[in-house]
C-alpha cells in the first residue's frame, strides 16, 4: 500500500473517532471535552486536506477553526459555567429513534456513493496552492468575496448588539 493511502486511513480513522467522541463520549459529558475532541477532529481533517493537495485550505482550517472558532466555544463555556449537564439522562426512546434514523441515512449515503462509481477514471492533478486560489478569489469570485466581507461586518454588529446588557 502506498504511503498516502496509509495516511488517508490514519487521518480518516482519527477524524471519525474524534468526531464520535465529540458527539457521544462515554466517559464525560463535559462540553470542554467535546470542544477538545472537536479540535482533534479539525486537525485530522486538515491532514485529509493536505492529502487532497488543498494546502491553503488546510492552513485556513487550522487557523480559523482550531484557532478562532474553538477558542470562541471555550470562552462561552467558561462564561456560562455549565455544571448541570452531568446529571441529566438520555431519553431511551430518543436515543433509539435517533440511532435508527441516522443509521438509515448513513447506510443510504454510503450505498449510493459506493454503487455510483463516481471516482472511476479520474486523474487528479489540481493543486490548491495559495497563488491560483488567490487569483481566482480576486477575479472570478470577487463579488462573493466582497459580499462575505459585508456578512462578517453584519455578524460583528449583530454580536455586539446581542451581547449588550439590556436587550430591548
Amino acid at each position: 500500500m502506498p504511503l498516502p493511502d496509509i495516511f488517508f486511513y490514519l487521518f480518516a480513522a482519527l477524524t471519525l473517532l474524534c468526531g464520535l467522541l465529540v458527539v457521544a463520549n462515554p466517559f464525560s459529558r463535559n462540553p470542554v471535552t467535546s470542544a477538545m475532541f472537536l479540535v482533534l477532529t479539525i486537525i485530522s481533517m486538515a491532514g485529509l486536506f493536505v492529502l487532497l493537495h488543498a494546502f491553503f485550505l488546510a492552513a485556513v482550517q487550522v487557523l480559523v477553526y482550531a484557532g478562532a472558532v474553538i477558542v470562541l466555544f471555550l470562552f462561552v463555556i467558561m462564561l456560562l459555567d455549565l455544571k448541570e449537564e452531568q446529571r441529566r439522562k438520555f431519553k431511551m426512546f430518543g436515543v433509539v429513534a435517533g440511532l435508527i434514523s441516522v443509521g438509515a441515512l448513513g447506510a443510504l449515503m454510503v450505498k449510493t456513493i459506493w454503487s455510483s462509481g463516481l471516482g472511476q477514471g479520474l486523474n487528479p492533478q489540481v493543486e490548491g496552492a495559495t497563488k491560483p486560489l488567490g487569483k481566482m478569489l480576486f477575479t472570478q469570485y470577487l463579488l462573493p468575496f466582497e459580499i462575505v466581507s459585508i456578512l462578517l461586518l453584519v455578524a460583528m454588529v449583530g454580536v455586539i448588539l446581542l451581547s449588550k446588557k439590556d436587550l430591548k
Binding site: 467535546s34 488543498a54 472558532v69 448513513g106 456513493i113 462578517l152
Partner: protein, 101 residues
Amino acid sequence: MHVGLEHYLIVSAALFCLGVLGVILRRNLIVIYMSLELMLNAANLALVAFSRFNNTLDGQIMVFFIITVAAAEVAVGLALIVALYRKRQTAHVEDLTTMKL
C-alpha cells in the same frame, strides 16, 4: 484498494451522520453547535475531494466561503446562547419551552 473519490466521500458522509446524531441526541446547546460544525466540516471535505478529483479549484473557493460563513455563524450563535443564558439561566434545550402550547 487504491484510495479514490469514494473513500473521501464516505468519510464525509460518516462525519455528517455523526453531526446529525449529535444534534438529535445531545441536549446542550453548545454541544449541538459543535455538531453543526461537524456537519459543515463534512460538507467541506466532500467539496475539497470533488475539487481535487474533477481538476477544478471552484470547490476549494466554496470551502473558503463556507469557513468564513461558519465563523460568522458561530459568533452570532454563541452570542445568542449567552443572551439566552442571561435571561433563563440555562443552555439546555429541554428548558426552553416558551413556544410550547
